[in-house]
Symmetry: C2
C-alpha cells in the first residue's frame, strides 16, 4: 500500500515543481499548461496518456483548445503520493519538450 | 458568420442526440461517456481530437480514467451552432465504435 506524503514532504516536493499547487485540501496537486494551439496541447496529452498507462497511474485532466489542466491524486491512498510526484515530473518534461 | 441555433431547433436536434443536454444556460451542450478503461477512453479522445482538428472546431472536455465529459459550444457565435451538432454526431459515432 502506497502512503500519502506528509505535509512537509509535499511542500518540499512542490518547491521543486514550479506551478504545481495543492488543491482539494491538499489531497491533490494541479497545474495548468498553455500551448501554442490544440495540436500541441493534444500532443502533450497523448505523450502523457502513454506514460500514465505504462505507470498505471492516470491524471484527471481537462482541455480547452490550447490549455490543459492536470490534476494528480492517488485515489486508493486518499491523497498525494510519490506516484503523483513521479507523474508530475514526467508531465513537466513533456510540457517543456 | 455562423449563427446560434434557435431554442426550438436546438431542442429538436438534441432529441436526436440521446444523452446530450444543454448546459450554461443553453450556450453549450454536454455529455459524459463511460468506457471500459483508460485506454478505451483515450482512444476515443484521440479519434475525436483528429476530427476536431480537421474541422477546426474543438471540444472542451475532461477525462477521469474511463470517463470523458465533452462540452460543445461555438465561442465566436456565443452558443450552440450546427458545428457543435456536427461534432456531437462524430463523437457519438466514435463513442459507440
Amino acid at each position: 500500500m502506497i502512503t500519502i506524503l506528509a505535509t512537509a514532504e509535499l511542500e518540499k516536493s512542490l518547491s521543486e515543481l514550479p506551478g504545481w499547487t495543492p488543491v482539494r485540501s491538499g489531497k491533490a496537486i494541479e497545474k495548468t499548461f498553455e500551448f501554442g494551439d490544440f495540436s500541441e496541447a493534444f500532443g502533450f496529452m497523448t505523450r502523457t496518456a502513454l506514460a500514465a498507462e505504462k505507470a498505471d497511474h492516470h491524471p484527471e485532466w481537462s482541455n480547452v483548445y490550447n490549455r490543459v489542466t492536470v490534476t494528480l491524486s492517488t485515489h486508493e491512498a486518499g491523497g498525494v503520493t510519490a506516484r503523483d510526484l513521479d507523474l508530475a515530473a514526467v508531465v513537466e518534461r513533456f510540457a517543456s519538450a
